[in-house]
């Protein structure tokens, strides 16, 4: 039961009181990682260093001097964050074998607080994708594919069909992180969010996925995709834990000049009981084509939940929503074309054997190192940046971006506190179905509800809401005002309490959790 507990309420207390030790916790997680290897959630498991960190943490607890609430807590990190001494691949051939010489700021912060880094999680290559299916290490499987809840609902088409062909995707691109948290192999994981890459897999895997305001958390060490939109994302099993992680990561970093200089004060989330002063906005354009009737109904139910509790619930309009994905497509490919230029084989990463000239070596290296998706985006980006296209596409997209951002400003100015929208168009698709469309089409479809928040730099969070008819998680998204994470998460926490999202019933986890930690009451059952 300990594996299922939230950080604040149970685990930290248990560690402090000696009811559990960091090394035990670490070992359980490592064992669970091994037995859930079929999920392919981890690219690298840093077993030795993790155990060492756990031992050091244990020493601190023995001396009564833990570094804080995160001391001894097992964490996983998406493989596009630099981790000193540990391979960082971005799920690409281009960086296979690349051992980071430094820690990303967010990784350093976690380590400084005693967190135990279990390993690096799988993703779409260079975080480009919405399925976590396009990485060089293969796709990530959604743990819910193996849950009792999903298996009960799936009707086998023949007796030869088994779990092997039925499994569903995690969503992406932070699918490995979402799967790791969802399958209890860690207590929290870092993801990244550029167009929805943290919130999308969070929704499909039934975990909390927080995208903080752009500028709140340092991007130093996060291998960049779109500099003006990337943010580190936080994945946890409950909203309180997300607030704890946020508290330990947010704040100005002199190494990232795009972090704001305002003082950041970590906060505890109050237990909201009175929502009557709250104004919830329902943007009508988020009733996007392709939105499943199930999710539409859930969204409506959620709006009613707030209304019945006394909150003001109003329909609002974000008129440029449908251009958000097109705008993103242009800006993203343009920034990608620029950001991927650093991969030339000279100083790090894959290097081709071609020796005739620098240019031909670069070209061969990049041909060998990047997959179709990455190459495609680089070429598209270069097209939009050509002199004859610059105004027509790139600058035009930047103008549309302002219109999108202004839509939000207007709505928040009209008195709305939080926006409530679906996170995804449907529950997780089976892998065999998902791969029938190409990456760009899928991304365009799947990012539609999450993308605009990145355009405007706003904080947004996915809260697991209910199970679909197929027994898979469905989440809803809350979008807040810039730098108002406390308000956003307070509302999210209230909502989480109301919906009582069920705990995943996984055979693997049950096997590892029996016996040793008996009397822990799971926070999520209360």
């Amino acid at each position: 039961a300990l594996l299922k507990d939230g950080l604040r309420s149970q685990v930290s207390a248990a560690l402090k009181e000696g009811q559990a030790t960091p090394t035990e916790l670490c070992q359980r997680c490592l064992a669970l990682i091994k037995s859930t290897k079929f999920l392919n959630a981890y690219i690298t498991v840093a077993e030795e260093t993790a155990l060492k960190q756990a031992e050091e943490s244990e020493e601190r607890y023995k001396r009564g001097q833990p570094l804080g609430i995160l001391d001894g807590i097992p964490i996983a990190v998406k493989d596009n964050f630099n981790t000193a001494g540990i391979e960082t691949t971005c799920a690409s051939k281009m960086l296979k074998g690349y051992i980071s010489p430094y820690n990303a700021t967010v990784v350093q912060k976690l380590l400084d607080q005693g967190a135990v880094l279990l390993g690096k999680t799988n993703l779409d290559e260079f975080a480009m994708g919405s399925g976590s299916t396009d990485g060089v290490f293969g796709p990530v499987r959604n743990p819910w594919s193996y849950s009792k809840q999903y298996k009960e609902k799936s009707v086998p088409k023949s007796h030869f069909e088994d779990e092997e062909s039925n499994w569903v995707i995690t969503g992406g691109s932070s699918g490995g992180s979402a799967a790791a948290v969802s399958s209890f192999t860690c207590f929290a994981a870092l993801g990244s969010d550029t167009g929805g890459s943290t919130r999308n897999p969070a929704a499909h895997c039934g975990v909390v996925g927080l995208k903080p305001t752009y500028g709140l958390i340092s991007r130093h060490g996060l291998i960049p995709l779109v500099n003006s939109m990337d943010v580190p994302g936080i994945l946890t099993r409950c909203v309180d834990d997300a607030a704890i992680l946020l508290g330990s990561l947010a704040g100005h970093d002199p190494k990232d000049s795009t972090t704001i200089q305002d003082d950041f004060k970590p906060f505890e989330l109050p237990n909201l009981t009175d929502v009557s002063k709250l104004s919830i906005g329902i943007p009508k354009e988020y009733h996007a084509p392709g939105l499943s009737s199930e999710i539409l109904a859930l969204w409506s139910k959620a709006a009613d939940l707030f209304k019945n509790a006394g909150a003001k619930v109003v329909e609002v309009s974000l008129p440029h929503t449908r251009y958000s994905i097109v705008c993103y497509h242009v800006l993203c490919t343009a920034e990608v074309a620029s950001n991927m230029a650093r991969f030339d084989g000279l100083e790090y990463g894959h290097r081709s054997d071609k020796k005739d000239s620098t240019e031909s070596m670069y070209a061969a290296t990049r041909r060998e190192g990047f997959n179709d998706v990455v190459r495609g985006r680089i070429l598209s980006g270069n097209y939009f940046l050509l002199k004859q296209n610059y105004e027509k596409y790139f600058v035009k997209a930047q103008k549309v971006r302002r219109l999108i951002a202004n839509d939000f400003v207007k709505v928040f100015r009209s008195g709305v506190d939080i926006l409530l929208t679906p996170t995804t168009l449907s529950d997780a698709a089976p892998y065999t179905e998902f791969i029938q469309e190409d990456n760009r089409t899928r991304s365009a479809q799947d990012d539609i509800l999450t993308q605009a928040a990145n355009m405007a730099g706003l904080p947004a969070v996915n809260v697991p809401t209910a199970l679909s008819e197929r027994g898979l998680p469905v989440g809803l998204q809350f979008i807040g005002r810039s730098f108002q994470e406390k308000q956003l998460l307070t509302v999210a926490k209230w909502f989480e309490k109301q919906v009582q999202f069920p705990v995943i019933q996984l055979e693997e986890v049950k096997r590892h959790d029996n016996g040793v930690f008996q009397h822990q009451k799971s926070a999520s059952f209360s």
Binding site: S380, Y383, A397, V400
Partner: protein
């Protein structure tokens, strides 16, 4: 309109990445088609937005040396090096022209 072979060739030169096959070229065509939807939006009088933090001043730190001396670490990840140099093949040699290059576009 389809993108001309000259432009495709130019893009391969700029990006130092190849289209590889007809699918790659199709991908670009579709991407352009998709992006063309932007022109439906009226952006008269709208300023382009570079950053959502445009209303703030960028942080500038003091011009003090705070870290460095990590030559060994940085050289660690390079495949070809000599003493403290990264070794590159000869420069100032342009990529071969379309006709001479081993590229999918040659057939077009």
């Amino acid at each position: 309109q389809k993108v001309s072979v000259e432009v495709l060739d130019h893009l391969e030169h700029l990006a130092l990445v190849d289209f590889r096959d007809s699918e790659g070229v199709e991908r670009l065509q579709k991407a352009i088609q998709f992006a063309d939807q932007l022109h439906e939006v009226n952006t008269d009088g709208v300023e382009p937005m570079d950053s959502v933090l445009e209303d703030r001043c960028l942080y500038l730190r003091e011009d003090d040396v705070t870290e460095g001396n990590c030559t060994k670490d940085l050289l660690e990840n390079a495949r070809e090096k000599v003493e403290e140099y990264f070794v590159a093949p000869p420069g100032n040699i342009p990529l071969p022209k379309l006709e001479e290059r081993d590229t999918f576009l040659q057939g077009s």
